[in-house]
């Protein structure tokens, strides 16, 4: 029989209130852990996913929408722009390099990005197998796309019209995989890249305007080399950091195009959602405070109910420190159990959020890092100790003889 066992037995005897305290505490810890992780991880995951794209130029409209569609590849396409105009817009000493991109087709739900080979430089990607495409209907798969779609060198694909599963198949032509990219942690991992000239090959025999690919919808067509006249967007890298403050604004105000700085837009989005995060943090903290109060009240009434038992411990020779230990151990056991349950809940919640983010190409760890976990643990211990101070002091300072007579 140890004094720890005694604390545990006492806890078991008031299992109802103990369980409630554990559940509320666990929910608070899980919420705090998840929100803190998300608040930290999502912006860095977004930043990483964007790779080296300093600017995205697209049709007139919302900058955030443009970034979500053409830089992060989360939302549907939002219109087209003339390749020539985009090229003119990015012809600027501040722009180091630019790459056109066009969207419109997919393969089993994985986006096909029609573009040019320098795109891999923007995302810092390199081939792990095979070679880059050299002409139409050759494709290079991002690491995750290759794994998900079971693509390997020489694989052939029949694309689907539209970005969702279930669109009409372009059975007139198929792509051949010529290369697989190494993982980068950027959005390129979940894309299939193909040459811009592929658009014409895939859509050339289609008479339905809705089935004619992005260039036809834009009323463009193809140039003499078979390149589309209209594209979805242009990605660019700046030659100097100062360009971020100048070039997007210049393009947006002086042309019929919209230029957005992805990092700036993401920072703006973060600022917009920060109140929601803060609210969740407050809720998490409130859960924690309520759990601490419940633990304190539960402990106080439990210790009052067993004042005789604690007095008996003194009479049996226990030091005041030992009596305090018995009393405080109850609170500490509650914390351990709440923390363990909270950790499991946080993992489950984190896994759900991480899975959701993964579907957007954002890689986040489903659990908080050790420093956060340690901080929450210490916080919970501190709350338990604070919650125990009054009831434990009353138990320890109680007059043994008086308590026995009570």
């Amino acid at each position: 029989m140890t004094l720890l066992n005694l604390s545990f037995r006492y806890l078991v005897r008031r299992w109802g209130s103990a369980l409630l305290t554990i559940v509320v505490g666990a929910m608070g810890l899980a919420l705090l852990s998840t929100v803190m992780t998300m608040a930290e991880d999502i912006p860095s995951a977004v930043k990483k996913a964007l790779g080296g794209a300093d600017m995205v130029v697209g049709p007139k409209g919302s900058e955030l929408d443009l970034v979500m569609c053409c830089a992060l590849h989360i939302t549907p396409t939002r219109g087209l722009i003339a390749y020539k105009d985009a090229l003119t817009a990015v012809t600027n000493p501040y722009v180091k390099e630019s790459v056109p991109i066009a969207l419109g087709d997919s393969y089993n739900g994985t986006r096909i990005l029609w573009t040019r080979p320098p795109i891999v430089d923007i995302y810092g990607a390199h081939l792990v197998q095979g070679r880059m495409w050299t002409g139409a209907m050759e494709a290079v798969a991002g690491a995750e796309a290759a794994e998900q779609q079971h693509l390997h060198l020489g694989s052939t694909m029949i694309s689907t019209h539209g970005l969702d599963i279930g669109g009409e198949l372009h059975t007139n032509a198929h792509y051949t995989v010529t290369g697989i990219l190494a993982p980068t942690g950027t959005v390129i991992d979940r894309l299939i890249l193909a040459d811009l000239k592929s658009i014409r090959v895939v859509h050339v025999d289609t008479s339905d305007p809705d089935e004619q690919g992005p260039t036809q919808v834009a009323g463009g067509g193809y140039d003499k080399d078979g390149n589309p006249i209209a594209i979805s967007a242009m990605l660019a890298r700046f030659a100097s950091p100062i360009a971020a403050a100048i070039v997007p604004r210049q393009i947006s105000t002086e042309t019929d195009l919209t230029a957005a700085n992805p990092l700036f837009e993401m920072a703006r989005l973060s600022a917009l959602v920060r109140p929601a995060f803060n609210l969740l943090l407050i809720f998490g903290a409130l859960f924690g405070v309520v759990a601490a109060l419940m633990a304190a009240i539960g402990l106080m009434s439990a210790l009052n109910a067993r004042a005789k038992d604690l007095a008996l411990l003194r009479i049996l020779g226990a030091s005041r420190l030992k009596v305090a230990r018995v009393a405080i151990q109850e609170a500490l056991i509650l914390v351990q159990l709440a923390y363990a349950l909270g950790f499991v809940l946080a993992l489950a919640l984190g896994a759900v959020v991480a899975d959701r983010m993964f579907s957007y190409g954002l890689f986040i760890t489903p659990w908080a890092g050790w420093p956060t976990l340690a901080m929450l643990y210490l916080g919970a211990l501190g709350a338990a100790v604070l919650a125990s101070i009054v009831p434990v002091a009353r138990a320890v300072l109680a007059d043994g003889e008086g308590a026995l007579k009570a």
Binding site: M1, T2, L3, N5, L6, R9, Y10, V12, R13, K308, D309, L312, L313, R314, I315, L316, G317, A318, S319, R320, K322, G400, E401, L404
Partner: protein, 220 residues
């Protein structure tokens, strides 16, 4: 002498209760007799180092209990004194054996399963070792309380009205158990009681009178 009481008095409100001087050697037994409310329990608590006396000294195994610091006194109480309360004061959340082991844990001693099993068997409650104490009869609880008091091999065993809650047969048995156990452990036994059967079975009797004046009647 393992228990010496020297001019001990305790205060209860305006009343000062004097104790007779007592010297008990190992294996000796004595009844502290007196009507209800006269202050027997208060004196016993002072002798156990629980209730601070008004004056006087209590020596347990040569140590002046009330001259020790609080924690040292608690340690002497835990290791040298066994106390059987009139209302048992067992811990309901624990089993019989765990109540016994708790006495060792409180005194800073390691658990002793053999000792617990031996005591429970000798007191005839070995079969209830793992039963929770709140599921025992009054007589069984009394025996558990006695076993707990003996668990740390005390030099002095103090019992407060050990037969008060028992019927005649159980009381008879308890008296026998008390005497035998104390003798077997070599402990001095002091029993506060107003039960004639208890008094007649012990080595001596000291009485507390209702007016608070002690009167030593006989010591064997």
């Amino acid at each position: 002498m393992v228990l010496s009481i020297d001019r001990l008095t305790v205060r209860r409100g305006d009343r000062v209760i004097p104790s007779p001087n007592i010297d008990l050697a190992a294996g000796q037994s004595l009844a502290l007799r007196g009507p209800s409310g006269v202050g027997k329990t208060s004196l016993l608590l002072a002798m156990a180092g629980i209730l601070k006396p008004e004056a006087g000294r209590v020596f347990v195994d040569g140590q002046s209990l009330w001259e020790l610091g609080e924690e040292a006194r608690a340690q002497v109480r835990g290791r040298r004194i066994g106390y059987v309360f009139a209302s048992f004061h067992l811990i309901d959340a624990l089993s019989v054996t765990e109540n016994l082991q708790l006495a060792r844990a409180c005194a800073g001693l390691s658990p002793d399963r053999e000792r617990a099993a031996h005591l429970l068997a000798s007191l005839g409650i070995g079969a209830f070792a793992s039963r929770r104490v709140d599921r025992l009869s009054q007589g069984q609880m009394q025996r558990v309380a006695l076993a707990r008091a003996l668990m740390n091999r005390p030099k002095v065993l103090l019992c407060d009205e050990p037969t008060a809650a028992l019927d005649d047969d159980s009381a008879e048995t308890m008296i026998g158990l008390l005497k035998r156990s104390a003798a077997a452990e070599g402990a001095a036994l002091l029993v506060a009681t107003h039960d004639q059967r208890v008094m007649s079975s012990l080595d001596g009797i000291v009485a507390l009178q209702a007016d608070g004046l002690p009167a030593k009647e006989s010591v064997a």
